[in-house]
């Protein structure tokens, strides 16, 4: 594989950039693989990469119905953080933060990781107490957390509404300075390029239509490009999990819901951090191009449409304007939607299933992007070793029937409210 560097950039400039190697090939599927990963999104690509890199399993195919990076890895708001209270989520995400910090070097691909810090705003004394508790839990797990008072927040984000007669005055906030953003497309492409170079077949425009299962063991998958045998199969399909589960006669603690995001027209650098509104559900950061990147609530009813509805967008942006009044002066550049695999406790599932050789990775709700490297790393371990790693032991499928939920927000099973 051609290494990307300033020297290769200069060299290729002389030939008008016509002679770059393709970043990944377009192979026809083989008859059989050791492992098939269904879903060529961030998590699937990362899983294939870590299978090859950490476990030396390279006879791997990724099967993707559309094109790689066309799903949620290309539709998120690029936020990376590990500001969780519960041990399972905190330790898992903080392991991921380490992988994020090394990712550009590791993949030889600039993912533009920008640890600019995330600030969660608090709008009451009770919320400050809750943030203090969460911050302390984070610090016990080795995650950086700083409780900010009103004046400290005002220094960092003076453009927020600090006037006297607002409905939700800013009391302070909880900050994770090491959190940030990364370029989401580059994450998908970087993992794809490295996985491909180690022998992984990335098969796009190939839809899974069924599974070959005999005596409780997976034998392969049926696809629109023919039947493919496999010793092991991993599911990594986010919002489409329930569609595959139906083919497998499985019912999961997952509902599929739609989440929208949007960007404004680009403006000069203004916002240095990722900021979330504490009295509702709205978050905002500024991209390197200058666009304000914004998101918030789910559309609020089961949906596979990948297209948003206006009432929710209006509601979310109303919250945005309450936090940052200047947003009302900006024009909207783009809005879009993606379908989320909302789990019943808000935490993911990375586990084996009752079918031998079939592994499940789902339930990321709207927190999947930041988990990409840690999810791929632990899922690769679970598939390669046929047992869960300590990091994902809490993300079991049976935790719902045994009562070992990881309910970070305490919202219960109304997934569309979270």
């Amino acid at each position: 594989m051609q290494k990307y560097s300033v020297f290769s950039l200069i060299k290729n400039a002389f030939s008008d950039h016509q002679n770059w190697e393709v970043a990944w090939k377009d192979p026809t599927p083989k008859k059989e693989y050791d492992v098939i990963i269904i879903g060529g999104g961030g998590h699937g690509l990362a899983t294939a990469y870590y299978l090859a890199k950490e476990h030396n399993i390279t006879n791997v195919a990724i099967i993707e119905k559309g094109w790689i990076g066309g799903g949620n890895v290309g539709r998120n708001t690029t936020i990376i953080r590990s500001n969780y209270m519960h041990d399972e989520n905190g330790l898992f995400s903080e392991f991921g933060m380490d992988l994020w910090r090394k990712m550009s070097q590791d993949l030889n691909y600039n993912v533009m990781f920008s640890p600019r810090g995330i600030i969660n705003l608090a709008h009451s004394d009770a919320q400050m107490n809750a943030y203090s508790r969460r911050g302390n839990s984070m610090r016990l797990n080795g995650i950086d957390a700083v409780l900010l008072n009103r004046e400290e927040v005002q220094k960092l984000i003076p453009m927020a509404d600090f006037s006297d007669n607002v409905r939700f005055p800013i009391f302070g906030g909880l900050m994770q300075p090491s959190a940030g953003t990364a370029r989401h497309d580059a994450v998908a492409w970087g993992y794809a390029r490295q996985a491909d170079s180690m022998g992984v077949d990335i098969i796009q425009n190939c839809e899974v239509t069924g599974f070959d299962i005999s005596n409780g063991k997976i034998l392969g998958v049926r696809t629109s490009k023919g039947d493919i045998k496999a010793k092991k199969v991993g599911l990594c399909v986010a919002g489409s999990t329930n569609i595959l589960a139906e083919m497998l006669n499985m019912t999961l603690p997952i509902e599929t819901h739609l989440l929208q995001a949007c960007v404004s027209e680009p403006i000069k650098p203004l916002l240095d951090h990722v900021v979330t509104f504490g009295a509702g559900h709205f978050y905002c950061s500024q991209s390197d191009k200058g666009e304000m990147v914004m998101g918030g609530d789910l559309d609020g009813y089961n949906s596979y449409s990948q297209r948003g509805n206006l009432p929710t967008l209006q509601h979310v942006l109303t919250e945005g304007i309450a936090m940052f009044p200047f947003l009302s002066k900006l024009k909207m550049l783009r809005t879009w939607g993606g379908i989320m695999d909302m789990s019943m406790d808000g935490s993911p599932i990375i586990d084996k299933t009752h079918i031998n050789g079939l592994y499940l990775n789902c339930g990321w709700c709207y927190g999947g992007f930041k988990a990409t490297p840690a999810s791929g790393w632990t899922f690769a371990h679970t598939i390669a070793q046929d047992r869960v790693h300590d990091l994902n032991a809490g993300y079991s499928l049976n935790r719902f029937s045994t009562g070992n939920l990881i309910d970070e927000k305490g919202l219960g099973t109304k997934t569309w409210i979270s």
């Binding site: 139906e246 997952i254 089961n302 949906s303 509805n309 719902f400």
Partner: protein, 89 residues
């Protein structure tokens, strides 16, 4: 914008309603011996189909009645609405 035909009030915009989730989920019977699996099915497990979905909505800014709506989860087409206690065809 979804327009939902409330069986009590007529056609109203989605803004008047709150969503209530899958309407096919049935609570296990009272005073019956219930296995963990049955509770699991009721509390946590959902089919969440792509296509026709029977769901509960609450006409919270209208007549405040719960209703059932048959809706397509990929096109958002609403086929039929029912009163909460109405038999489903």
């Amino acid at each position: 914008m979804l327009y939902i035909n409330c069986p009590h009030c007529g056609l109203r915009s989605q803004n008047e309603f709150a969503y209530g989730g899958d309407a096919t989920v049935k609570r296990p019977e009272l005073n019956k011996e219930i296995s963990d699996q049955e509770w699991d099915n009721f509390v946590y497990l959902r089919k969440s189909p792509r296509g026709k979905h029977l769901e509960l909505w609450h006409h919270i800014s209208g007549c405040r009645q719960w209703i059932k709506v048959e809706r397509d989860t990929s096109t958002h087409e609403i086929f039929k609405t029912y009163k909460a206690n109405e038999a489903i065809e």
